[in-house]
């Protein structure tokens, strides 16, 4: 909207945006501050900054439940998240390429099916899946997360890649084909370098979602030794007495750090990716 605005209304907009930004980030800022406050101070003072900063919350909280510390929980999370993310990127690229660039029987029907599974509530299939994985002996392992990723069970990402491939000019493929490249070489050498931003957003999205996933880990992971950070954190909260607030805040902070870090490093691609999917329907 190009509009000659009165300076007053512009200032009001800024004031509003800044106040809102403060309200939005307040919980997070409070969390950071609380991790460095003593337990006496956490709820007795209003300031975000600790008056007498203490650093013990991190080292104490890191010990986790005694038997297993947060080093274990974090390692577990990475063991679960990284393969899931890599396989999602791989499968969604292949599937996206397949749908965007080839003609085959029942293509329209299959594509429609894929789109409609985007709206299939996960809760409907959770029980049969659980039983299926149980029969395969995959309970209490990360396979229930990794294998669906390998098999492209995240239609949202497949769709995102289809849309992205559609946006790339077909002439690229055709000239390469004239040069005698087969379809896989075309994908690998010509299209893939152009897909970086889309693949990046698949990676960031899937990393964040799997990292934060709680219901599925609650269902599938039962032994504490294999707990990812989400379960470790909840267990720490449940078993700790009311005197450990700062430790729990410190570990909460640790647990949200990797997704935040990834988001900031990949922010540009991420925002682009969202915009691409939402728009070209």
């Amino acid at each position: 909207m190009i509009n000659k605005k009165h300076p007053i209304s512009k200032i009001l907009s800024y004031v509003f945006l800044i106040v809102l930004a403060y309200i939005m980030t307040y919980p997070l800022l409070w969390m950071i501050g609380a991790a460095f406050k003593s337990n006496d101070e956490i709820f007795s003072t209003l300031g975000l900054f600790p008056k007498n900063p203490v650093f013990g919350a991190f080292s104490e909280g890191w010990k986790g439940t005694g038997q297993y510390g947060f080093d274990r929980f974090l390692t577990n999370t990475f063991l679960m998240v990284l393969p899931t993310v890599v396989f999602t990127a791989l499968s969604s690229t292949l599937v996206g390429y397949g749908f965007a660039r080839f003609q085959f029987p029942f293509k329209k029907t299959l594509f429609l099916i894929m789109l409609s599974t985007m709206m299939l509530p996960a809760t409907v299939i959770i029980i049969p899946r659980y039983i299926f994985f149980k029969k395969l002996g995959w309970l209490d392992s990360y396979l229930p997360f990794i294998i669906p990723a390998l098999l492209g069970c995240f239609p949202f990402f497949n769709f995102m890649m289809v849309q992205f491939f559609r946006g790339l000019p077909l002439e690229l493929d055709e000239s390469a084909k004239l040069d005698g490249c087969n379809s896989f070489v075309i994908l690998k050498d010509i299209l893939l370098p152009l897909c970086k931003s889309a693949i990046f957003s698949v990676i960031v999205f899937q990393f964040v979602w799997t990292w934060n996933d709680f219901m599925n880990v609650l269902i599938y992971i039962s032994s504490v030794a294999k707990y990812p950070v989400a379960l470790g954190l909840r267990m720490t909260m449940d078993i700790s007495t009311e005197f450990n607030w700062n430790q729990i805040m410190a570990m909460s902070l640790v647990s949200i750090f990797p997704p935040i870090l990834l988001f900031f490093t990949a922010q540009k691609y991420f925002v682009e990716g969202i915009a691409t999917t939402g728009m070209k329907n």
């Binding site: 945006l17 939005m24 997070l28 209003l46 599937v95 996960a122 959770i126 049969p128 492209g152 647990s255």
Partner: protein, 294 residues
């Protein structure tokens, strides 16, 4: 989209992972879940066909079902419209030629990344505890503290706040949509002497309506299945006032291992979601405006 090429089966090679995944991990489970819903399956032992008894039980002899259903409707009704309206308003403000838009956009988006993480639920619990920081802040301004998580009338609202707090992803979609509205539409309207409100109602909103629809559908599907905050912050209480449908499904299926009953519950939820999404789609014919580019 594609030039008329001859059919080849090469494409199947590329979509094969999804095809397998769809069949094994989506289609077969869907059929199974439907079958289980007519059985008394309990994880151990065989599934015995019991007809419509599971479905009858919900409505006749399981008071938590109706309670949970009404809690979930309340939640969807509060959280989804608030979130979308909020996202739209902020996107409109950010879409003015404002300096530092990237900064604000990023800041507002952060909660969406952390979204359903346990850390945020834990944080919420501490913020809204009786001796929590929100009550402390209120007492400074002279407002008496509330029992945000212990009062059955407030708890669901407190939980919904977590959802609304994550308006960032919807906002990004609106922002992208606003950038696509052709400037000439605004110019024409201004030449015709249309006021700001009129421009919003007659141009901006209709042009954004496909995105409103997309947000509405996706947020609704998610909200009906919400789980983490209610599970971690209030465990469904007090007095089941935050006992969302997702919690009931989890309890029945993975706490009591009543797989048959839980499957039946999940099909009711599926039917409800299907009903409301198709209702939204149907109604959208009268309020969603598609440009002639499609």
């Amino acid at each position: 989209m594609l030039k008329h090429k001859k059919y080849s089966f090469e494409g199947y090679l590329y979509i094969l992972p999804w095809l397998l995944g769809f069949l094994l991990l989506q289609f077969v489970p869907l059929i199974n879940s439907f079958w289980y819903s007519f059985t008394d399956f309990q994880l151990l032992g065989d599934a015995k066909f019991i007809g419509l008894q599971n479905y009858k039980k919900m409505f006749v002899s399981d008071p938590t079902f109706l309670k949970s259903l009404s809690v979930t409707f309340y939640y969807v009704l509060i959280a989804v419209p608030c979130k979308i309206a909020f996202a739209l308003v902020i996107a409109l403000i950010l879409n003015q030629r404002i300096r530092g838009i990237n900064f604000f956009r990023t800041l507002y988006y952060i909660p969406s990344i952390l979204g359903g993480s346990v850390a945020i639920s834990v944080l919420w619990k501490y913020l809204f505890m009786n001796q929590g920081i929100i009550n402390n802040l209120l007492s400074v301004v002279g407002i008496p503290g509330q029992d945000w998580l212990g009062n059955p009338n407030l708890a669901l609202g407190t939980i919904s706040l977590v959802t609304v707090w994550q308006f960032g992803s919807s906002m990004l979609l609106f922002l992208a949509g606003l950038k696509q509205i052709p400037e000439c539409l605004y110019e024409a309207a201004r030449i015709d002497g249309a006021g700001k409100m009129k421009i919003f109602w007659k141009i901006t909103l209709p042009e954004l309506s496909p995105i409103v629809l997309f947000n509405l559908i996706m947020q609704m599907i998610n909200a009906f299945q919400e789980f983490t905050p209610a599970f971690v912050i209030t465990q469904g209480g007090p007095l089941k006032s935050t006992y969302l449908y997702g919690l009931m499904l989890y309890d029945q299926g993975f706490k009591f291992f009543k797989m048959g009953y839980s499957s039946a519950l999940s099909w009711i939820l599926f039917a409800i979601i299907l009903f409301f999404t198709s209702l939204t789609f149907k109604s959208s014919q009268s309020w969603v405006h598609y440009g002639d580019t499609l």
